[in-house]
Protein backbone atom coordinates (compact mmCIF):
# COMPACT_ATOMS: atom_id res chain seq x y z
CA UNK A 1 0.00 0.00 0.00
CA UNK A 2 1.66 3.19 -1.13
CA UNK A 3 -0.13 5.18 1.58
CA UNK A 4 2.34 3.78 4.10
CA UNK A 5 4.91 6.08 2.58
CA UNK A 6 2.93 9.10 3.81
CA UNK A 7 3.92 8.06 7.32
CA UNK A 8 7.61 7.91 6.41
CA UNK A 9 7.53 11.30 4.73
CA UNK A 10 5.47 13.06 7.41
CA UNK A 11 7.46 11.30 10.10
CA UNK A 12 10.70 12.70 8.70
CA UNK A 13 9.14 16.18 8.79
CA UNK A 14 8.07 15.68 12.41
CA UNK A 15 11.62 14.74 13.29
CA UNK A 16 13.03 17.80 11.50
CA UNK A 17 10.52 20.20 13.04
CA UNK A 18 11.06 18.86 16.55
CA UNK A 19 14.79 19.34 16.11
CA UNK A 20 14.09 22.91 15.00
CA UNK A 21 11.98 23.47 18.12
CA UNK A 22 14.79 22.00 20.17
CA UNK A 23 17.40 24.40 18.79
CA UNK A 24 14.97 27.31 19.27
CA UNK A 25 14.52 26.31 22.91
CA UNK A 26 18.28 26.12 23.33
CA UNK A 27 18.72 29.57 21.75
CA UNK A 28 16.03 31.14 23.89
CA UNK A 29 17.40 29.54 27.05
CA UNK A 30 20.86 30.90 26.32
CA UNK A 31 19.76 34.33 25.07
CA UNK A 32 21.22 36.01 28.14
CA UNK A 33 24.17 33.74 28.88
CA UNK A 34 27.09 36.14 29.10
CA UNK A 35 30.75 35.24 29.05
CA UNK A 36 34.08 37.00 29.30
CA UNK A 37 35.59 35.96 25.95
CA UNK A 38 34.21 35.97 22.41
CA UNK A 39 35.24 32.34 21.82
CA UNK A 40 33.34 31.01 24.80
CA UNK A 41 30.10 32.86 24.09
CA UNK A 42 27.03 30.94 22.97
CA UNK A 43 26.03 31.46 19.33
CA UNK A 44 22.52 30.97 17.94
CA UNK A 45 22.08 27.50 16.41
CA UNK A 46 19.90 26.70 13.43
CA UNK A 47 19.19 23.39 11.67
CA UNK A 48 19.66 23.10 7.89
CA UNK A 49 16.83 21.27 6.09
CA UNK A 50 17.17 19.49 2.74
CA UNK A 51 15.08 16.99 0.76
CA UNK A 52 16.11 13.36 1.29
CA UNK A 53 18.42 12.63 -1.61
CA UNK A 54 17.80 8.88 -1.64
CA UNK A 55 14.10 9.56 -2.19
CA UNK A 56 14.81 12.09 -4.95
CA UNK A 57 16.37 9.42 -7.16
CA UNK A 58 13.72 6.85 -6.38
CA UNK A 59 10.99 8.57 -8.33
CA UNK A 60 8.03 6.51 -7.19
CA UNK A 61 8.30 7.66 -3.59
CA UNK A 62 7.47 10.92 -1.88
CA UNK A 63 10.43 13.00 -0.77
CA UNK A 64 11.08 13.28 2.96
CA UNK A 65 13.06 15.93 4.83
CA UNK A 66 16.43 15.43 6.39
CA UNK A 67 18.47 17.61 8.67
CA UNK A 68 21.89 18.13 7.13
CA UNK A 69 23.30 19.53 10.32
CA UNK A 70 23.17 22.39 12.76
CA UNK A 71 25.03 25.59 11.98
CA UNK A 72 26.00 28.33 14.39
CA UNK A 73 25.03 31.84 13.39
CA UNK A 74 27.97 34.06 12.47
CA UNK A 75 26.19 37.31 13.23
CA UNK A 76 28.41 39.62 15.33
CA UNK A 77 28.25 39.13 19.09
CA UNK A 78 27.11 41.98 21.28
CA UNK A 79 29.74 43.52 23.55
CA UNK A 80 28.63 45.34 26.63
CA UNK A 81 30.69 47.54 28.93
CA UNK A 82 29.90 46.47 32.45
CA UNK A 83 33.01 46.52 34.63
CA UNK A 84 31.08 45.50 37.74
CA UNK A 85 30.03 42.15 36.25
CA UNK A 86 31.87 39.14 37.73
CA UNK A 87 32.52 37.76 34.20
CA UNK A 88 33.84 41.02 32.74
CA UNK A 89 37.26 40.79 31.04
CA UNK A 90 40.26 42.97 31.84
CA UNK A 91 38.83 45.85 29.77
CA UNK A 92 35.49 45.63 31.58
CA UNK A 93 33.54 44.09 28.68
CA UNK A 94 31.18 41.10 28.65
CA UNK A 95 30.08 39.22 25.49
CA UNK A 96 26.41 38.51 24.87
CA UNK A 97 25.12 35.79 22.50
CA UNK A 98 23.93 36.75 19.00
CA UNK A 99 20.47 35.28 19.61
CA UNK A 100 17.71 37.32 17.98
CA UNK A 101 14.73 36.73 20.26
CA UNK A 102 12.10 37.95 17.77
CA UNK A 103 13.51 35.67 15.07
CA UNK A 104 13.49 32.73 17.47
CA UNK A 105 9.86 33.33 18.40
CA UNK A 106 8.88 33.40 14.72
CA UNK A 107 10.87 30.20 14.21
CA UNK A 108 9.09 28.57 17.12
CA UNK A 109 5.62 29.38 15.77
CA UNK A 110 6.55 28.22 12.27
CA UNK A 111 7.98 24.93 13.60
CA UNK A 112 5.01 24.13 15.79
CA UNK A 113 2.52 24.92 12.99
CA UNK A 114 4.43 22.72 10.55
CA UNK A 115 4.49 19.95 13.14
CA UNK A 116 0.72 20.20 13.56
CA UNK A 117 -0.02 20.14 9.86
CA UNK A 118 2.13 17.05 9.35
CA UNK A 119 0.27 15.28 12.16
CA UNK A 120 -3.02 16.20 10.49
CA UNK A 121 -1.84 14.68 7.22
CA UNK A 122 -0.88 11.50 9.02
CA UNK A 123 -4.32 11.36 10.61
CA UNK A 124 -6.03 11.72 7.23
CA UNK A 125 -3.81 9.01 5.74
CA UNK A 126 -4.68 6.78 8.67
CA UNK A 127 -8.40 7.29 8.06
CA UNK A 128 -7.93 6.49 4.37
CA UNK A 129 -6.12 3.26 5.21
CA UNK A 130 -8.62 2.16 7.83
CA UNK A 131 -11.45 2.70 5.39
CA UNK A 132 -9.58 0.70 2.75
CA UNK A 133 -9.05 -2.18 5.16
CA UNK A 134 -12.77 -2.34 5.94
CA UNK A 135 -13.70 -2.29 2.24
CA UNK A 136 -16.55 -4.65 1.38
CA UNK A 137 -17.58 -5.28 4.98
Amino acid sequence: MSLFNVFDVSGSALHAQSLRLNTTASNMANANTVSSSIEKTYRARHPVFAPMLGDLFEKTKGVGVQVLGIVESNAPLKQEYSPGHPLANENGFISLPNVNVAEEMANMISASRSYQSNIELMNSAKQMMLRTISLGQ
Binding site: M1, S2, L3, N5, V6, V9, S10, S12, A13, A16, Q17, R20, F49, A50, P51, D55, K59, T60, K61, G62, V63, G64, V65, S110, A111, R113, S114, S117, N118, E120, L121, S124, A125, Q127, M128, R131, T132, L135, G136
Partner: protein, 133 residues
Amino acid sequence: MQFNFEKYLGLHEPALHLQSRRAQLLAANVANADTPKFKARDINFREVMKQAEENPKGQGPLRITSTQHFQPPGFTDGYEMLYRHPRQASIDGNTVEPEAEHSAFMENTMRYMSSLRFLSGKFNTLTTAIKGQ
Protein backbone atom coordinates in the same frame (compact mmCIF):
# COMPACT_ATOMS: atom_id res chain seq x y z
CA MET B 1 -21.48 -16.30 -18.18
CA GLN B 2 -18.15 -14.51 -18.31
CA PHE B 3 -17.61 -12.14 -15.44
CA ASN B 4 -14.88 -9.55 -15.76
CA PHE B 5 -13.86 -8.08 -12.42
CA GLU B 6 -11.90 -5.25 -13.94
CA LYS B 7 -14.78 -4.18 -16.12
CA TYR B 8 -17.18 -4.44 -13.21
CA LEU B 9 -15.09 -2.28 -10.89
CA GLY B 10 -14.53 0.22 -13.68
CA LEU B 11 -12.39 3.29 -13.18
CA HIS B 12 -12.64 3.24 -9.39
CA GLU B 13 -9.70 0.93 -8.99
CA PRO B 14 -7.17 3.01 -11.01
CA ALA B 15 -8.65 6.10 -9.35
CA LEU B 16 -7.89 4.71 -5.88
CA HIS B 17 -4.37 3.88 -6.94
CA LEU B 18 -3.82 7.35 -8.32
CA GLN B 19 -5.35 9.06 -5.30
CA SER B 20 -3.07 7.19 -2.93
CA ARG B 21 -0.07 8.20 -5.06
CA ARG B 22 -1.25 11.80 -5.01
CA ALA B 23 -1.68 11.68 -1.22
CA GLN B 24 1.96 10.70 -1.02
CA LEU B 25 3.09 13.57 -3.25
CA LEU B 26 1.07 16.13 -1.30
CA ALA B 27 2.38 14.77 2.01
CA ALA B 28 5.92 15.20 0.67
CA ASN B 29 5.10 18.80 -0.23
CA VAL B 30 3.79 19.59 3.25
CA ALA B 31 6.74 17.79 4.86
CA ASN B 32 9.12 20.02 2.89
CA ALA B 33 7.24 23.25 3.61
CA ASP B 34 10.32 24.66 5.35
CA THR B 35 13.04 23.16 3.15
CA PRO B 36 14.88 25.86 1.18
CA LYS B 37 14.68 25.56 -2.63
CA PHE B 38 12.18 22.68 -2.49
CA LYS B 39 9.76 22.70 -5.42
CA ALA B 40 6.20 21.51 -4.79
CA ARG B 41 5.04 18.81 -7.21
CA ASP B 42 1.71 17.41 -8.18
CA ILE B 43 0.04 15.44 -10.94
CA ASN B 44 -2.74 16.56 -13.25
CA PHE B 45 -5.42 14.18 -12.00
CA ARG B 46 -7.81 14.76 -14.90
CA GLU B 47 -5.13 14.11 -17.53
CA VAL B 48 -3.87 10.93 -15.88
CA MET B 49 -7.39 9.58 -15.37
CA LYS B 50 -8.13 10.26 -19.03
CA GLN B 51 -5.03 8.28 -19.91
CA ALA B 52 -6.19 5.41 -17.70
CA GLU B 53 -9.60 5.49 -19.38
CA GLU B 54 -8.18 5.46 -22.89
CA ASN B 55 -5.53 2.86 -22.18
CA PRO B 56 -6.82 0.16 -19.87
CA LYS B 57 -4.44 -1.53 -17.45
CA GLY B 58 -1.00 -2.35 -18.74
CA GLN B 59 -1.38 -0.58 -22.06
CA GLY B 60 -0.49 2.95 -20.99
CA PRO B 61 1.84 4.88 -23.27
CA LEU B 62 4.66 5.01 -20.70
CA ARG B 63 4.49 1.90 -18.63
CA ILE B 64 7.58 0.17 -17.29
CA THR B 65 7.24 -3.56 -17.69
CA SER B 66 10.90 -4.51 -17.50
CA THR B 67 13.74 -3.40 -15.24
CA GLN B 68 15.73 -2.45 -18.35
CA HIS B 69 13.20 0.12 -19.51
CA PHE B 70 14.17 3.74 -19.17
CA GLN B 71 12.15 6.03 -16.96
CA PRO B 72 11.54 9.29 -18.80
CA PRO B 73 12.61 12.20 -16.60
CA GLY B 74 9.74 13.68 -14.60
CA PHE B 75 7.54 10.61 -15.01
CA THR B 76 6.67 8.00 -12.40
CA ASP B 77 4.64 4.94 -13.36
CA GLY B 78 3.68 6.80 -16.52
CA TYR B 79 2.33 9.88 -14.72
CA GLU B 80 3.91 13.18 -15.48
CA MET B 81 4.96 15.01 -12.34
CA LEU B 82 4.37 18.73 -12.69
CA TYR B 83 5.67 21.66 -10.70
CA ARG B 84 3.25 23.87 -8.86
CA HIS B 85 3.15 27.62 -9.55
CA PRO B 86 3.19 29.43 -6.22
CA ARG B 87 0.81 32.37 -5.85
CA GLN B 88 3.23 34.15 -3.58
CA ALA B 89 6.90 33.55 -4.21
CA SER B 90 9.09 33.04 -1.16
CA ILE B 91 12.59 34.34 -0.69
CA ASP B 92 14.24 30.93 -0.07
CA GLY B 93 13.10 29.47 -3.41
CA ASN B 94 10.57 27.14 -1.78
CA THR B 95 7.31 26.87 -3.75
CA VAL B 96 5.25 25.02 -1.14
CA GLU B 97 2.16 26.87 0.05
CA PRO B 98 0.85 24.91 3.04
CA GLU B 99 -2.74 26.12 2.67
CA ALA B 100 -2.90 25.07 -0.99
CA GLU B 101 -1.33 21.69 -0.21
CA HIS B 102 -3.71 21.15 2.69
CA SER B 103 -6.81 21.89 0.67
CA ALA B 104 -5.54 19.65 -2.14
CA PHE B 105 -4.86 16.87 0.37
CA MET B 106 -8.31 17.20 1.94
CA GLU B 107 -9.96 17.17 -1.48
CA ASN B 108 -7.91 14.12 -2.46
CA THR B 109 -8.92 12.36 0.76
CA MET B 110 -12.60 13.03 0.08
CA ARG B 111 -12.26 11.69 -3.45
CA TYR B 112 -10.47 8.61 -2.16
CA MET B 113 -13.23 8.02 0.40
CA SER B 114 -15.95 8.36 -2.25
CA SER B 115 -14.14 5.95 -4.60
CA LEU B 116 -13.98 3.53 -1.68
CA ARG B 117 -17.70 3.99 -1.03
CA PHE B 118 -18.50 3.22 -4.68
CA LEU B 119 -16.31 0.11 -4.63
CA SER B 120 -17.87 -0.98 -1.36
CA GLY B 121 -21.32 -0.69 -2.96
CA LYS B 122 -20.18 -2.79 -5.89
CA PHE B 123 -18.85 -5.49 -3.60
CA ASN B 124 -22.11 -5.46 -1.63
CA THR B 125 -24.03 -5.94 -4.87
CA LEU B 126 -21.85 -8.94 -5.67
CA THR B 127 -22.34 -10.45 -2.22
CA THR B 128 -26.09 -10.04 -2.54
CA ALA B 129 -25.99 -11.72 -5.95
CA ILE B 130 -23.91 -14.63 -4.62
CA LYS B 131 -26.02 -15.21 -1.52
CA GLY B 132 -29.25 -14.61 -3.33
CA GLN B 133 -30.89 -12.97 -0.36
